[in-house]
Symmetry: C2
Subunit: 398 residues, 2 copies
């Protein structure tokens, strides 16, 4: 019997799944504080809805098949095209501007490699229906607040305006966009090889920020974004066909292995299914990259494990008492696991608590019954004391 | 351009998506309070892992296809077979008992009809590796606490023990299981038509609870489950092939349109991929049914809308001030939406707040600047007063 997962697909055992939940809790809290609301779309769509929207490469990497009813269907490839469909399909029901977050897995039949998966969670915020700089600023402010609350110290929100590139040909912009990856010398070489004047690079590098981007940055600051987190980056493009105004990318010098997220203004996309045009600006958090970075930089809280106590069982006779204690701890808002097997040795129960990183263990044997107390063991220090239920509550809560 | 979803697949616009998030928050809180931890498995599995595990019907309803690499793959059909795979694949990494929750969409190419979808969220808790009654009791206690916290008043947790059926043939049990749906007369008729003594029904109905089930119910009570929520139901079977001990089903007389969840002990399933046997007990919350019931019974909190304030913009000149107020409200933990367009009429902004059910609107015009105050409007009562920022914070928080 095969017990393997498909290449590029992952199981998340509790340790990893808890990291994922932690990040999502933080992000949702920030999104909600800005009035953004959740949206969910189906995993499967009519193939027609998705094909042709992501270029040839996208069509190639898309999971597509014929369903049992002979319909051509495809798995979610991103969350922007479904958003465009939703905006067209429910235009009378949605209030504009429509500020939504969407956090669902997407599927790409890409070559799996380090950090690249065939199923991965996308985590997007977008404002549809506003062409104002304040919309861009708000997206930037939410991104900044999110990385800050996740614990990133030195992150930079790189910003550019598509207008900075003026009439520079697309091909040349794509080469200049690689500056960080390949360095100035190779950019110039590639520009030359492609028949462009290598001096364009320096011209672009010397560009000043546009009036529009300055305004956006000013509003972001009013919304609480720290200036040291914002940086004008005139060579930033991130796939020019897509963005029409602001371009955003987040990176951290503490984790120089790629960007932690990106986005920008894309005014010509969301109207693709309707007769109307919808200006839009959004940001996509690089979920897997963020987990990697936070793991390496030790940014996850120590008590990611939410279980605070294991209540052990001394023997069958005292099992009821242990169950009652567990129940009382939960009533006091303490997450408590109860050992289930009255025949287990105490050693086995302590080992379990240790392996699961449960910080406290409560023991309740004949001695404790006689003295009308409980024994609590701190699994980190090994300290073990007898105490009353009330004092134990206080101890665990602090 | 098609802007439609596939039959049996759904978009969840913010109003519905917020209901879903609310329920999941409540459930996860309960699961966590019992020490249960999250697990996630891939949407796609090797077809071999899933086929043959759900019977002929399951194989027929499964979404299966050949991926771009020529692999036969299938979409997640439930969360129990993936759990069995995980237990086999990581047996050395998992601490036993393994108490996990899993909340992911599953896919079934079933005929769509009211309340039946082709993609729907499953929400499961399972304890693997314990054959003790306390494991069953804990699952029951978690279910009870969950429905209670979701606001259900009169729910019943129907309980049975597979042993109650003794040597009754499977076919007869399946007929008796339909008692609630079709009534005693038709059950007896069907029993007779299938060559069974119709008197079996009454025999089963008169059965007493088993010693094991009594113990389970006793422990559930110790864990805080109210006796009035538990009911022995000797005719309950829920697909006998699966369950080996306790059988659980939850229903509410206030919502008589089907069960709100179900589960039980299944000791012969989780070992399917390994040489070892793993006793297990679990419960699956009927997520869509719960949403339907809570909507009809009015159990969702009134402030499901988490945005508390819309800060309006009087004109371009005062836009900065509004942004600052919005930012300050957020610093005070008040979820705040900021209007984005400085050219909008106040009427339009108020309409937006009204449509989105935002309870308060803050206005800041030249009059307020002069008086050094803010105007706050209660959107429900229409009351509109001038006040200081500090007083407004207090007002909104209460």
């Amino acid at each position: 019997m095969k017990t393997q997962t498909l290449k590029g697909f992952r199981d998340f055992l509790p340790l990893e799944a808890k990291k994922r939940e932690y990040i999502l809790d933080v992000l949702k809290k920030v999104f909600t504080s800005y009035g953004f609301e959740p949206l969910e779309t189906p995993t499967l769509e009519y193939e027609d809805v998705l094909t042709g929207k992501y270029g040839d490469e996208g069509d190639k990497l898309m999971y597509r098949f014929e369903d049992n009813g002979g319909r051509q269907v495809a798995l979610r490839y991103d969350q922007t095209v479904p958003l465009a469909r939703v905006v067209a399909q429910y235009q009378n029901d949605l209030s504009m501007p429509f500020k939504r977050y969407q956090i669902q897995p997407v599927f790409r039949a890409d070559k799996p490699q380090k950090g690249r998966y065939r199923e991965f969670l996308q985590c997007d915020i977008d404002t549809v229906g506003s062409d104002k700089n304040s919309a861009d600023a708000e997206i930037i402010a939410i991104a900044a607040k999110s990385y800050e609350l996740l614990g990133f110290k030195n992150f930079k929100i790189l910003l550019n305006d598509r207008a900075v590139f003026g009439k520079t040909p697309t091909k040349a912009i794509m080469i200049i966009d690689k500056l960080k990856k390949i360095g100035a010398e190779r950019v110039k070489l590639e520009l030359k090889q492609n028949g462009f004047d290598p001096a364009i690079l320096e011209q672009i590098q010397k560009s000043k920020t546009t009036e529009s981007l300055s305004l956006t940055m000013k509003v972001a600051a009013r919304l609480g974004t720290k200036e040291q987190n914002l940086e004008f980056s005139p060579t930033l493009a991130r796939g020019l066909d897509y963005y029409t105004g602001t371009i955003i990318e987040v990176e951290s010098p503490d984790y120089p292995y790629g960007s932690l997220g990106g986005g920008g203004r894309y005014d010509n996309l969301i109207g693709m299914f309707s007769n109307q045009n919808y200006p839009a600006v959004g940001f996509s958090f690089g979920f897997d990259r963020i987990i990697e970075a936070m793991t390496e930089l030790n940014l996850f809280p120590k008590d990611l494990n939410k279980t605070k106590v294991l209540v052990t069982i001394f023997n069958l006779e005292l099992a009821d008492k242990s169950a009652e204690i567990a129940s009382k701890l939960r009533v006091n808002n303490i997450n408590t696991e109860l050992w289930l097997d009255p025949d287990s040795k105490m050693e086995k129960q302590l080992k379990y608590a240790d392996k699961k990183n449960i910080p406290y263990v409560i023991m309740l044997g004949p001695k404790e019954i006689e003295k009308n107390c409980l024994t609590i063991k701190n699994m980190k220090t090994g300290e073990q004391i007898e105490s009353t239920f009330e004092k134990i509550i206080t101890k665990i809560k602090n």
